[in-house]
């Protein structure tokens, strides 16, 4: 069982590697106030890096992300609220800049889509179940005991 053990170890190593935070957040050093730093990290994780598009500005190393991080830090230090910072970003880059877009007319489909798909699935299951229960017993293909 040594091979198996190697695999387990490899898996473990991969998990550990995956768990290592690889973000570029602190390139400019931590903010002095830990509460401010916590807000900074949370905000940076919710802002999309528009160059890479699937990374947050907290995770991205491109220059735009670092410029945007600096902007967020400056605004935090200046005492701006989280909402003010998010508004600043969406005013310039649109709702797409947020990973957690606000619920409103234009973003309704994004928020509603999972529920629509869920309803669709429930509907399909319901139809199939009902269809089966209507089937006469002798017509069943009898796949054996389930």
């Amino acid at each position: 069982m040594t091979i198996r053990r190697v695999f387990v170890l490899m898996g473990l190593a991969l998990c550990l590697l995956g768990g290592v935070p690889t973000h570029a957040l602190d390139a400019n050093g931590q903010l002095e106030d830990p509460a401010l730093q916590a807000r900074f990290e949370r905000i940076a994780k919710d802002l999309r890096c528009l160059v890479c598009q699937n990374e947050s500005i907290a995770d991205s190393n491109v220059e735009l992300a670092s410029d945007l991080r600096r902007q967020v830090r400056d605004m935090l230090v200046a005492g701006k609220s989280d909402d003010a910072i998010f508004d600043f970003m969406t005013d310039r880059y649109g709702d797409f800049v947020r990973f957690n877009p606000p619920l409103k007319g234009k973003t309704l489909l994004i928020w509603g889509a999972p529920f629509i798909v869920l309803l669709l699935g429930v509907g399909i299951v319901f139809r199939i179940v009902r269809g089966r229960s209507r089937m006469p017993l002798d017509d069943e293909p009898s796949p054996g005991p389930l």
Binding site: L64, D67, Q71, T90, R92, Y93, G94, F96
Partner: protein, 179 residues
Amino acid sequence: MWKFLLPFVAFIALAVLFAFGLNPKRDIHALPSPLIGKPAPSIALTDVMDSSRPVTNAAFKGQVYIVNVWGTWCEACRQEHEALLAIAQQRVVPIIGLVYMDERDKAKQWLEQLGNPYTAVAFDTDGRTAIDWGVYGAPETFLVDSGGRIIYKFISPMTAEVWQHEFLPRIAAARGAGA
């Protein structure tokens, strides 16, 4: 009836979705700018050629003008340069250049070697002006009307065709409305 129609309807729906989603002409990285229709953010920087000379877009107030964001690191900007030179020769509108994420010397050299299509070239030292304009790459080209509003943004290298079909009609319309 539904049983036969449903796959057909699903197929049509998917085909329409793919036609839009996989259209090779659609640039998935081109994002609509929320700044369209909004007042153009201010540009108050210095000239790339001469750091003691200010460049502001306030100086172009009352005119229709173009802001072209570029950098020497940007391959696509090199591509569009010929088109910009040709456009500049038409003298339709002033073109303000905004040098983004670059070094002053490199930008200078670029203009000296390739020619300068710009009426004025602002050098964005720290990227803040670019953030105000919602810039996330280069080249990006904005069209500002005489009321100081951004009326159009084009994300991609400028070409004679784009100029002809996207910019000129909008410039004419803006002038018609502004006069």
